[in-house]
């Protein structure tokens, strides 16, 4: 940890990661970041009712179904994680 970090919020990076799931760090992979983006997006769609309504009309589904679908998609939004090469 750098000397400068000791005084600000990043001094508790672990704590931060635990509290805000979507926060990142220098070793985050492209895949992990993409997953976060996707989940945030779905959460946002679900959270804004007009968005949900918009998607429902476009896909000709009920709003509840849309919400359910989005939630399901949050499980593995980008498919299975890629194989790790090392460690």
């Amino acid at each position: 940890m750098q000397a400068s970090d000791r005084f600000n919020i990043n001094s508790q990076l672990e704590h931060l990661q635990a509290k805000y799931v979507g926060t990142g760090h220098a070793d985050l992979t492209r895949f992990e970041w993409a997953v976060n983006i996707q989940r945030d997006s779905y959460a946002s769609y679900i959270g804004h009712y007009p968005m949900l309504a918009y998607f429902a009309i476009a896909e000709n589904e009920s709003i509840g179904r849309e919400r359910y679908n989005f939630m399901q998609k949050m499980l593995l939004p980008c498919g299975l994680p890629p194989e790790r090469d090392e460690d």
Binding site: N8, L16, A34, Q38, D40, F55, A58, C78
Partner: protein, 1282 residues
């Protein structure tokens, strides 16, 4: 030369005269000889000589929690306005160790501890124990101590104690018989008195089993089981059963060694018997009747007296609490005191290695010697000029002082330590400079040598075994933590933490824990060592299991420390320990202590258990507690179990509610226990539970109501008090109907107990009455008719005002009653007492009236009562002699304010009094008179007595020459109050006369004067600036600059505000010029305040009047000035908020320049200016300028200086608000996956704060990622389009 001779002759003549006078016994002798009163005390007749000592011992022990709260709220006596507080108040304040005695270094913990707390040194650090979790199925090695071993030992110990007690009892009986035979000793009546009293409290079964020592303790103290510190004090004098009045003084100084005294020496924890390890409770060895018991040899007696002589020489007076024979020269049963103390050699000094106390004393001794050594001729030659002095022959009668004791101690090798010897005396050596140890280790204090001595051996590290090397390493680190400089300490602490698992639990704790038992430990050192344990615990986790008990032995005493922070620290450690070791291990470690014979051990264990409960949850502990509380084996176990529950309630407060029912069920049988102590503690625990649960949970107490009810009818004495307390706390939880019923029932008992002479009973009764009265459903009429008469008869007596706790409780209870029955009833009853002849009593009356009237107003008070009241307060106010708490003043203010316009007829009289008192000789009286004016100014206005106020204004104006700063401050405060009320135009003396008079007062450096003066000047500048010529205001401006140096923030704030008012009145130019000039000064605080003032001037006079000059000032090529300008800009934009949008373009070039400056501080300050600017103009259409500035801010993200990087990050956060997160995200994207980790780290840091700040808004701005094989990264939903 002749002149000198003549002078010498005259001096000699004078001295001879004085000597003659002395010889003749002239009365002037004593007073005319001056000597250092600090060291030698104030002569024989000084009444304050024993002011620091306890004159009485608190009777109560049971409400420790209350004490805790008090101690927390009232951390130190330093808050007192003066040191001349009246004795009653002073006696109750917690004393700090440095009040008396010679000036010492850091305060040692042991010096402020009482005997009870000092018992911690009796505990032994037990060997480590078997950890069944780690061992798995394997049978434990016979060499390790298992739980079974410990329990067996405990049982044996108990048996042994029983046996000893039995012996003691026999002896006592024999002696009783002897005494009966002899009969009619002169002190017989006194002895009878004690036994009588003892019988009253100790009627139960266990009482007679107790030995004399125990008896003296329980009989004289209220609530032994619940004992906090006080109890132990009785231990100090266990031997004197026949001696009814143990004199404190004798105890301390021990002038006459009585036989009782010899037993005494053994009873003090330090002296600790022959084998310290075997008997943790020294008190029991001290069988009070000497002949058979300990058989001290005459040699021993002698030694114990002689030992103390050098001690008191070294440290003049053994300070504070330490005075109670602080361990003399024997280290007590700490594990290292290995030598056989039971066979002392006649010559103390020739004995083996010295104990830490001795070292300490030696150190003082040496220090004093060094300072007081006679000057040599050479030294004198260098000090005095060559001419004008003459060396005289010493008179023939002169005999140099030769103190044998001092000589003895001055010899260089008083102790034959193999490790350390006091070096040869060397006059030239600087003793103040500590000797450096090799390897950058910090200085070692003498008392550290026994722990760290091996570090001095200059062995080759390579030759040591790995184990030894490790040990050495740990010792080095610990020494650095304990004695090192802060940076050393920090790195050492970190190393200890990081390598904790590598070092292993055993070696670590074996080194740390003995250090904590060191008797000379100071607060700071203990704090550091405890911190080490905490850190190490965290790392070691389950490896600590075998050491749990060891750690507890050292940490538990912290739980009863008088220092609040020590208690918190102790709780934290035990909580962490229980989380690391787990419940099973904790219980296994502490179970044997639950029925320990030593009350101290049980007390601390109970407290520790409550901490475990709060750490691991009450439900986890419930089954265990249930078993303990029902223990058939010993009442001690039951007692401790119930006490644990009490402590849980105190510690956890309303968090007990979910488990209330089970907790009550566990202890309810204790109410009918055969042992009286168990019954008492049960009732107290119920009280604590009810207090914690209030106002909920009555249903949980259903089952105990009946036994409690029966109890208060069948019990007497302290059990009754405890039961009453329980009822008192349960009643407020009830429904109105029940509460009323129960109150009426319990009130009969309470009223009976009103007349109890016992202090503790009094306190509890008051508390219970308060609880009952405040409960809904208790009718005013009932209180008025049934309670009030008896209550006032028994409690409103002078004696109650003398003890501070009684006083407080009585006032609270009476106020509570007034809330029910109204003002008139209560005030009517006590108003006459305002003229009582006892001042403390008058003060108590006044405080009650003040609180009642402030709560309920004065509308109830009729004309007659009003007259009496005013008359009374005037009398009480005038008659007061000492009042540090301002009770009279507050009372007067409260009554006058409550009466409002009804005071009008009395105002002339009041003002007359004030005027007369303003002229008093005593400063305190003048101050109070002035303070009173500021309290009643508003009411005077209400009564339209403006003329009177004007008159007072003139009077006060005349007193502005006051020389006592406290009084002057009050006078200014009074003037301020009058000006505030009657306004600038009507003020007499007119403002134009008043203000010039205030200008010189601004120079006064006293805080109170400064504060009141600046407030008054600021007020005038704000409201009446036009009455004063501009030149005067400029003069004031210069004075104000000095004010910016003030320590108190309030003064500095008032000053900068005043700058604003003045600037508004006379225009900003001149003020600004003054302020800008002030930016060149050196002091940082002064510059900072100046920048604030500039910003305020800009805010009050509009920024455009100030900005040009300010920005022009930036051209001055001087670091401080430029930074000052930037800082002013930062404050300016902070204050003007959205008004900033008009100025942002004007200052952008300046900020550009600053953000590109080489100097870090420039960039930092500019960044914070940018932050405030961005936050101010968010949403006002200044994005172009902001983006431009962001481009200058952004390159600074790689700065490492903490202040700069913080400012930069905050500027970026500000930009996020003003520009929207999408912009910042786009700045971020370039670096999130940068090949260099350092870069990535910084960018992710920015990303994270961005994400936390605007998670949702980022969704729209995330980049479109390309799919990667099976993984789909694109967000198809965003392409949906209707």
């Amino acid at each position: 030369m002749d002149a000198i001779d003549a002078e010498l002759a005259r001096a000699q003549e004078e001295r001879r005269k004085m000597e003659e006078a002395l010889a003749a016994g002239a009365p002037m002798a004593v007073s005319s000889v001056t000597f250092d009163t600090d060291l030698y005390g104030g002569g024989g007749a000084d009444p304050n000589r024993f002011a620091g000592y306890d004159t009485s011992i608190p009777a109560s022990e049971d409400d420790a929690a209350e004490d805790d709260a008090e101690a927390a709220a009232n951390p130190a006596p330093r808050r007192l306005a003066s040191y001349t507080g009246h004795a009653i108040a002073a006696a109750d304040l917690p004393r700090s160790a440095d009040d008396d005695g010679p000036p010492k270094g850091a305060p040692r913990i042991i010096d402020r501890e009482d005997d009870y707390r000092r018992r911690r040194l009796n505990q032994i650090i037990s060997p480590e124990r078997h950890d069944p979790f780690a061992a798995g199925e394997a049978t434990p090695d016979p060499s390790v101590r298992t739980y079974a071993d410990v329990m067996r030992d405990a049982a044996l110990q108990k048996k042994k104690e029983d046996l000893l007690r039995e012996i003691a009892k026999k002896k006592k009986e024999e002696e009783e018989r002897d005494r009966e035979r002899k009969a009619a000793a002169p002190e017989q009546p006194a002895a009878a008195a004690t036994t009588k009293r003892r019988n009253r409290w100790d009627q139960s079964q266990d009482g007679d089993a107790a030995a004399g020592a125990k008896k003296a303790k329980t009989s004289s103290d209220w609530d032994a089981p619940d004992a906090t510190p006080g109890i132990g004090r009785w231990d100090a004098t266990p031997g004197r059963v026949g001696d009814a009045t143990p004199s404190v003084r004798r105890n301390r100084w021990d002038e006459t060694p009585t036989p009782g005294r010899m037993a005494d020496a053994d009873a003090t924890p330090a002296a600790g018997g022959a084998t310290p390890g075997a008997t943790p409770s020294g008190a029991w060895d001290a069988t009070p009747k000497l002949p058979g018991g300990v058989t001290p040899t005459p040699g021993k007696k002698q030694r114990s007296r002689w030992d103390e002589t050098p001690a008191s020489m070294g440290s003049a007076t053994p300070g504070g609490l330490g005075a109670a024979t602080p361990a003399g020269y024997t280290p007590g049963p700490t594990p290292f005191g290995a030598e056989n103390l039971a066979t002392p050699t006649p010559s103390q000094i020739a004995r083996g290695p010295m104990t830490p106390e001795q070292y300490q004393l030696m150190r003082w001794e040496r220090d004093i010697e060094e300072r007081n050594r006679p000057l040599t001729d050479e030294e004198l030659d260098t000090m005095f000029p060559q001419e004008g002095y003459k060396i005289l022959e010493p008179p023939a009668s002169y005999q140099p002082i030769r103190t044998p004791a001092r000589k003895l101690l001055a010899t260089p090798t008083p102790m034959g330590t193999p490790l350390y010897a006091i070096p040869e005396e060397n006059r030239g050596q600087q003793f103040d400079v500590p000797k450096e140890l090799q390897g950058g280790l910090p200085m070692m204090k003498p008392e550290d040598y026994q722990y760290f001595g091996t570090l001095l051996n200059e062995e080759e590290e390579e030759q040591l075994s790995p184990e030894e090397q490790k040990e050495r390493k740990i010792m080095k680190l610990l020494l650095k933590v304990k004695n090192g400089t802060p940076p050393q300490r920090k790195t050492a602490l970190r190393q200890l933490t990081d390598k904790a698992r590598e070092f292993g639990a055993g070696p670590l704790f074996n080194k740390i824990l003995p250090l904590l038992m060191q008797p000379t430990l100071e607060d700071q050192e203990r704090h550091l060592l405890v911190k080490v344990i905490d850190r190490v615990l965290y790392k070691l986790d389950e490896l600590v299991r075998p050491f749990v008990h060891k750690i507890l032995v050292v940490i538990e005493p912290l739980l009863i420390d008088e220092d609040y922070y020590a208690r918190v620290e102790g709780r934290e450690i035990i909580s962490n320990l229980s989380k690391a070791a787990g419940l099973a291990t904790m219980i296994a470690a502490m179970r044997p202590d639950i029925d320990n014979i030593d009350e101290y051990v049980r007390n601390t264990t109970a407290r520790a258990f409550s901490v475990v409960a709060s750490a691991l949850g009450i439900p986890a502990l419930l089954p265990f507690l249930k078993a303990v509380c029902q223990s058939k084996k010993s009442w001690q176990a039951r007692h401790t179990g119930i006490k644990i529950i009490q402590q849980i309630a105190i510690l956890m407060g309303c968090a007990v509610l979910p488990h209330l029912k089970s907790l009550v069920e566990i202890i309810e049988h204790g109410l009918s226990d055969e042992n009286q102590k168990v019954r008492t503690i049960t009732a107290l625990s119920l009280a604590a539970l009810a207090e914690a649960a209030a106002p909920y949970g009555i249903e949980s107490f259903d089952t105990v109501l009946k036994p409690l009810w029966k109890g208060i009818r069948s019990h007497r004495g302290k059990v009754l008090a405890a039961f009453l307390k329980a009822i008192g706390f349960i009643i407020p939880l009830m429904d109105a109907l029940y509460a009323s019923y129960y109150t009426k029932e319990v009130m009969q008992v309470l009223i009976r107990e009103f007349q109890s002479p016992d202090e503790e009973m009094k306190k509890i009764v008051l508390k219970v009455v308060k609880q009952c009265v405040s409960t809904e459903g208790v009718e005013a009429d009932y209180i008025r008719n049934d309670i009030l008469p008896e209550f006032f008869k028994h409690f409103w007596v002078r004696r109650m005002a003398l003890d501070r706790r009684n006083y407080k409780q009585l006032v609270e209870t009476t106020v509570e009653m007034a809330n029910k029955v109204g003002v008139a009833d209560i005030v009517g009853r006590i108003v006459e007492d305002l003229k009582d002849e006892s001042e403390p009593y008058r003060r108590m009356v006044m405080e009650t009236i003040e609180k009642v009237v402030a709560n309920l107003g004065a509308s109830d008070i009729d004309a007659r009562l009003e007259e009496l009241l005013i008359d009374g307060i005037l009398y009480a106010f005038q008659e007061q002699t000492s009042d540090d708490a301002n009770v009279m003043l507050n009372g007067f203010g409260a009554v006058v304010n409550a009466l409002g316009q009804r005071v009008k007829p009395y105002l002339p009289q009041i003002c007359g009094t004030i005027k007369w008192r303003l002229n008093n000789k005593s400063a305190k009286v003048r101050q109070q008179a002035a303070d009173l004016i500021s309290r009643i100014a508003i009411v005077m206005k209400q009564c339209q007595e403006e003329q009177l106020m004007g008159h007072l204004g003139v009077v006060l104006y005349e007193y502005l020459g006051e020389e006592y700063p406290e009084v002057l401050g009050s006078i200014l405060g009074a003037l301020k109050a009058i000006v505030n009320v009657i306004g600038m135009t009507k003020m007499t003396p007119p403002i134009k006369d008043l203000l010039p008079r205030l200008t010189p007062i601004l120079k006064n450096r006293h805080e109170k004067v400064q504060e009141n003066c600046i407030d008054l000047v600021g007020r005038i500048a704000d409201r009446g600036a036009e009455f004063v010529p501009a030149r005067e205001w400029m003069r004031i401006c210069f004075e104000l600059l000095e004010m910016l140096k003030a320590h108190k923030k309030g003064i500095r704030r008032a000053t900068v505000n005043t700058f604003g008012y003045i600037a508004k009145a006379i225009g900003p130019q001149d003020v600004l010029a003054t302020l800008l000039n002030n930016l060149k000064v050196q002091e940082r605080q002064n510059r900072v305040c100046t920048t604030v003032a500039i910003a305020i001037v800009a805010e009050t006079c509009s920024p455009f009047t100030v900005l040009p000059a300010l920005m022009n000032e930036y051209r001055v090529p001087e670091l401080n000035v430029q930074n000052g300008v930037l800082k002013s800009l930062s404050f300016l934009f902070e204050y003007i908020g959205e008004m900033g949008k008009d100025y942002i373009y004007a200052v952008t070039p300046l900020l550009e320049d600053a953000l590109m400056d080489r100097d870090l501080v420039h960039r930092q300050t500019a960044a914070s200016a940018v932050k405030h600017m961005a936050l101010g103009v968010a949403g006002l259409g200044c994005e172009d300028a902001l983006v431009h500035l962001l481009n200058y801010v952004w390159p600074n993200i790689f700065e490492t200086s903490p202040h700069v990087i913080n400012a930069v990050m905050e500027a970026i956060e500000g930009m996020r608000v003003a520009l929207g997160p999408a912009v910042i995200l786009n700045y971020c994207l370039q670096g999130l996956f940068h090949p260099a980790r350092k870069v990535r780290e910084v960018y992710w840091k920015i990303y994270n704060s961005l994400y936390i700040g605007a998670q949702d808004a980022l969704v729209a701005a995330y980049p479109a990622l390309e799919d990667d094989g099976d993984n789909i990264f694109s967000r198809l939903e965003l392409a949906v389009f209707i």
